[in-house]
């Protein structure tokens, strides 16, 4: 009996053993996402930032591999750049060095924490930490520190019914408190005028909800051309 | 003094009227009465207080003291009701130069609250000889034309009392005559009461039946024009020793008609200059001692003496 239990345990461990090889983990994620050639989705954007009051906006997002993105919106929309393109290939397009840190849980789901350090000098990102769900091979959380734009955190949640590795919601959390939101000369005037708050520094969250995905139906390149 | 009045209804009643401008007392205890149908001459040299008085009559200026009654009612308490019955020109008439003569009249009529018809406006313009220029802008008008337009607006709403402050100022002799003729017409044909202010004695003499002369804000002389302006007669005072004898002597003679008044032992006559010596001779031949013959200056001389004093 003991032998059976031991054997069973070993079998389960081998079968469900999660990889600790960071390159492999990342490769699996990239591979999973490569099943998405293109997609169109409706997005709802809600901004929760102290110094920004933006109404909830609706927009349409177009994506085509490897990194083409286009947003259409009737009204004003403020969308985090990093959160918009969560394709792993885009995140990892430059040379990098990765190492496995530990296991962690995100929303109760076990993930592997992988640190990614870009090796390119001109990369704006200093360090990224990825929480990767190895069961679905999707990124559930990203934490990045940038040279010029402070730090940001992206939390992605996925609908289990969606066969593609596309999130149904994303929370983009950022801290730009050391960055002047408005260029200095304007900033000085505003500071002097109000004597209190300034537009220097931006901390908050942006919530994006995705719906009505149309995946791999083909999108013309002309959509992504910048209209002048 | 005899006063000839056409009516005993007082249209203007001024009692002890005064106006103080800082240190200057422009009008000082002025009293006068204007009766219905009068053409009342308000005479005085420049700076006498004529315009100030007129402005008080029209409530442009508030009196410092005294009362003004118009049509038997207090001006202070019945201003609007009274002004409905008054048409006036105060000094040089000014209009909205960028508007036509017709438009000015129309607007002034509307402000008065009256429904002045186009016909009425044209009638008034025709009366003053401006009907052919009704479409012209007032800024193109000469001084005389503005004066006539001023008269037209004063008559627009058929007032009972017309107040004219130096209406012939700046006009040529022809213009002056036209204004005078109009005043006479308004008085005789339209039975209007006219209050005419002027510093020209001759002008007043021709149209007014009653008048007052003011100087330094108060009345100097008031009365009937024909009495005051008998320009060929002098007031001569004969001071005699036997007054009863003198009275008997001139009784039933033509000299009696020239006797103005008796004060103590003085007989005051209104005489032609040439008659003085005859009367003196009569007294002397009848052994009445004449201790003094004092000719009083005529009204014209009096008025001129006032103006000379002012100009000096």
């Amino acid at each position: 009996m003991k032998k059976i239990i031991l054997l069973f345990t070993a079998f389960v461990s081998i079968t469900f053993a999660q990889s600790k090889d960071p390159d492999l983990i990342l490769k699996n994620v990239i591979q999973e996402f490569s099943t998405v050639k293109d997609y169109v989705a409706d997005i709802k954007i809600k901004v929760d930032v102290k110094v920004l009051k933006v109404p909830e906006t609706r927009a349409k997002i177009y994506f085509k591999q490897p990194d083409k993105i286009h947003i259409e919106s009737e009204g004003f929309a403020m969308i985090p750049r990093k959160g918009l393109d969560f394709s792993p290939s885009s995140l990892l397009k430059d040379k990098y060095s990765a190492f496995y840190q530990k296991e962690d849980f995100v929303d109760g789901i076990k993930t592997a924490v992988v640190k990614v350090i870009p090796l390119e000098d001109n990369s704006n990102i200093i360090l990224s930490t990825l929480w990767i769900d190895q069961t679905k091979n999707v990124i559930r959380k990203i934490e990045s520190t940038t040279k010029t734009n402070g730090t940001f955190t992206i939390i992605l949640s996925y609908n289990s019914s969606n066969k593609f590795p596309l999130p149904d919601s994303m929370t983009f959390q950022f801290d730009m408190s050391r960055v002047d939101l408005v260029p200095n000369e304007f900033n000085d005037r505003i500071e002097k005028k109000n004597n209190k708050k300034t537009l220097a520094g931006l901390v908050g969250k942006v919530y994006i909800t995705y719906s009505n995905y149309i995946v791999n139906k083909g999108i013309s390149d002309s959509i992504f051309e910048e209209k002048k | 003094m005899k006063e000839e009045v056409l009516s005993d209804e007082k249209i203007i009643e001024v009692q002890n009227l005064s106006k103080q401008f800082k240190e200057i007392r422009a009008v000082d205890n002025l009293s006068l009465n204007v009766y219905k149908g009068d053409v009342f001459g308000f005479l005085g040299p420049n700076g006498a207080g004529k315009s100030t008085t007129i402005r008080m009559l029209l409530s442009l200026i508030k009196p410092s003291g005294g009362n003004i009654k118009l049509f038997g009612k207090s001006l202070k308490e019945n201003r609007i009701e009274i002004l409905k019955k008054i048409g006036a020109i105060v000094e040089k008439p000014d209009f909205y130069g960028y508007m036509t003569a017709y438009k000015n009249m129309e607007i002034l009529g509307k402000i008065s609250g009256s429904n002045i018809s186009k016909k009425r406006i044209m009638e008034m313009l025709e009366l003053v000889g401006l009907h052919k220029r009704y479409k012209s802008k007032v800024k193109t008008f000469s001084h005389g034309m503005k004066q006539r337009l001023g008269l037209a607006q004063a008559l627009l709403h058929e007032p009972d009392l017309i107040i004219l402050d130096e209406p012939t100022t700046g006009l040529d002799p022809q213009g002056m005559k036209e204004i005078r003729d109009l005043i006479i017409y308004l008085s005789k044909e339209k039975k209007k009461t006219i209050f005419l202010s002027s510093h020209i004695l001759y002008e007043v003499e021709l149209v007014a039946n009653r008048m007052v002369i003011i100087d330094k804000g108060h009345a100097k002389v008031e009365g009937n024009v024909s009495d005051l302006l008998n320009s060929n007669k002098l007031k001569v005072t004969f001071e005699v020793d036997e007054i009863e004898k003198a009275k008997l002597l001139i009784n039933d003679t033509s000299w009696m008609k020239m006797l103005n008044s008796i004060v103590g032992n003085k007989l005051i006559f209104l005489l032609e200059p040439g008659e003085i010596s005859f009367l003196n001779k009569l007294f002397v031949e009848n052994n009445i001692l004449v201790s003094a013959v004092i000719p009083t200056r005529s009204l014209e001389e009096y008025f001129l003496s006032i103006t000379e004093t002012v100009s000096k």
Partner: protein, 279 residues
Amino acid sequence: MIGLINIELYKIFRKWRTYIGFIAIAVLVSVIQVAMLVEGQRSINFMTHNLQQSFILVGNLLNGYLVSHLILNTLVIHIPFLITLVAGDLLAGEATSGTYRMLITRPVSRISIVTSKFLAGIIYTCMIIFFLAIFSLGLGLSIFGSGDLLVVQNGTIIVFSKNDVLWRFLLAYCFSSLGMGVVASLAFLFSSLVENAIGPIISTMAIIIIFIIISGINIEIFRAIKPYLFTNYMNGWRLFFDDPIDIKEIVKDSLILLGHIFLFFGSAALIFQKKDILS
């Protein structure tokens, strides 16, 4: 009263100086619109440059509403002068032209005369603001189109959805009329004191400029004075571009401005009632 007001409006619009205001607004608005057409996008990009490092900004920010909002911000500088040109002449102009005598000897009360003139001045003020609104919004929307409005209010960037903007502008312009009404009332008061329109125009503008300067200098004594200066409340139209709208503050500002209007008009009426007409 309506008849008198009509007459006063007729007189106002028969003078060439009245049209200076409308022409000046048309020229200024056009110049600003053209400048924004040429340089506007660059300015917005510059202003949002740092923000654009981390965010994609989608939508037509350079739209008619943004430009109109910018123009409204210049309100306090040029509009008061255009208002005083007319309001300062309402009473003093009659003295200059000598028409006081003709006017006041009409069988109409002085209070009716002064009220009708004042109301005509207020109507003119509202017409100027209305013209600014129509020209600014009309031209702006036709050149730049519609879109969401981005404003900076008390250190916060607020974006209003385009369906949520027009009513704010309408109320802001209404409030501006109130603010400019104070300017007109002050000029009117000065006009009742003198016999030449130059004095009221210069005095009113001098007071506005001095008050604005005092309000802008950040020292203790001026901060204490500031709440008592009416210019402090003239920019209350900005409260309509806040989220949420501070209704209490708007009501307070409106009442203060209305109070100033009544005070200035009341004083002018009293002066006019007692005034000796010597011109």
